[in-house]
Symmetry: C2
Subunit: 299 residues, 2 copies
């Protein structure tokens, strides 16, 4: 087994481990949560077996809905697809974990994370990140979330760049550049030439998702909330859907490459609302919250 | 005033008339409905005044949300835009009425219609249509809706083609080609060379929207509904959002051409739900309804 194959194998193991650990955290947060698990398989572009995935979906009173998915896919690809990556590649290999958590309580933020390794033809790289979508202006939580990522990325010197990439990426350009949430970190097509180091950074990032989210989520879990809090959350979830369906490249890529629609769109919130010219009440926490959906230096 | 300018003017008058008449029908259906009216203006590609529109948004107990919009826009366009229409056109002119009605009662279908006239450079054409998105399997209503359009289009011989275009267009390709609703009629880029006749057909179509929808909607308006009916409606409205944000060319065109986002996305339902692998109860009316979201000969 060559070095690349070795890291592909251990990154897949890492991805599965994160999936299990995040699912355990979800069950701790919401012991009554209902879990649906689906193992699925796919064919590649030529109709041969091309790997598959494991989708885990949660529905509950505290976790309104969540999806924690892993996949390992490979095989022949549509040549048009390969060309996008600047070569005449006709094969791909990819593995990753992708997760989304939409809590029921508007005081607990939504979160999304993804850690992946991709190979198209001879080229390969790591990518992914984690971001937070809060609905209540607990600034200390936002600082805490970014603080974890700054610390995780400190040794690599990549926090600032990955934070800015995230700010730019998760933006509703059709809504006057309002961000989906308060950002986090995001990177893609990362290959420094040192596979061992790149793998180690990807592994480290994946290990920091749980400490970045669950302590703050659990702290807010049993807070009382108002009807206005909920309405604001449902409105912002509408914006979340707009981002995912209009702008998210991962969603587009998945649907256009004939991915498993229900696994891809598990990212959508269970409930949401659309309101013409929605405006939070003047001087409310929700009006305050609107200020945070803009790029900001957190730590 | 030349002949084209004359028809542009009277088509705009027609569009405004339909807007007023549809708004009157909405108020009759839901006398307590709350109306927000916004007159807006836009600049063209070079920053000069480029027309605007009149957005009317309804929120109520019987009409959960509705939008009835007209616009008249003109001026310089991005040359890239002009090239899409096969020329080196740098000016455009367009007027139309666009409407969406999402009733509260799941027994009353959602409807959408649009009637427009567009000129890019020297080329001009008519387009639009009307379609129905029911949530309860009242087959007689679907036949009635299509019957009105077949009759309206009878003299022109275009019903079958426009019905098929509608079936194909309003389809969620990422959901195994499930249709958004039960179709209706749709046409675009229509210019037979006889402006007077083309105008007359466009006018006739716009006059048939009210009789195609309101009689059947009013007949169902006060029916009792169940929790399951509502859940199914909210689920199907999720599919409606998926279509509008992932596939609808009008929405994309509007957002990419820097249109008024709130007027464009007024098409989204006030509430909706997303459920992983949603399936209606076996032998329920909702399972029956699923069969109708496929192309079918109605009349």
């Amino acid at each position: 087994m060559n070095q690349l194959d070795k890291y592909k194998e251990i990154f897949f193991q890492q991805v599965r481990k994160i999936q299990d650990e995040v699912c355990d955290q979800i069950k701790l947060m919401d012991p009554e949560v209902q879990l649906t698990e689906d193992q699925w398989e796919r064919n590649d572009f030529e109709g041969n077996p091309g790997g598959g995935g494991l989708t885990r979906v949660f529905l509950g009173d505290k976790i309104e809905n969540a999806g924690v998915n892993t996949s390992l896919v490979f095989g022949k690809i549509d040549p048009k697809f390969g060309q996008k990556f600047g070569g005449d590649a006709d094969t791909m290999w990819a593995t990753g974990v992708s997760l989304i958590i939409h809590p029921r309580n508007p005081r607990v933020p939504t979160t999304h994370a993804n850690f992946r390794m991709i190979q198209i033809g001879e080229k390969f790289w790591f990518g992914g990140g984690a971001d937070l979508t809060p609905y209540y202006p607990y600034e200390e939580d936002f600082k805490e979330f970014h603080g974890v990522w700054k610390k995780a990325l400190g040794p690599y010197g990549h926090y600032q760049k990955m934070k800015e990439t995230c700010d730019t990426y998760f933006t509703n350009t059709h809504r006057d550049n309002e961000m989906r949430g308060i950002g986090g970190i995001f990177y893609d097509h990362f290959n420094s030439g040192n596979l061992e180091a790149d793998f180690e950074m990807a592994r480290t990032l994946s290990e920091h998702f749980i400490p970045s989210y669950f302590p703050l989520a659990n702290r807010r879990l049993n807070e009382e909330w108002t009807e206005e809090d909920e309405e604001f959350m449902l409105h912002r979830r509408g914006r979340y859907v707009e981002f995912n369906l209009l702008h998210d490249r991962g969603t587009k890529f998945g649907l256009e490459s004939n991915g498993r629609t229900d696994s891809i769109l598990v990212s959508l919130p269970r409930r949401c609302m659309y309101t013409y010219q929605y405006a939070p009440k003047p001087a409310s926490p929700h009006e305050k919250m609107m200020e945070y959906y803009r790029p900001k230096d957190w730590v």
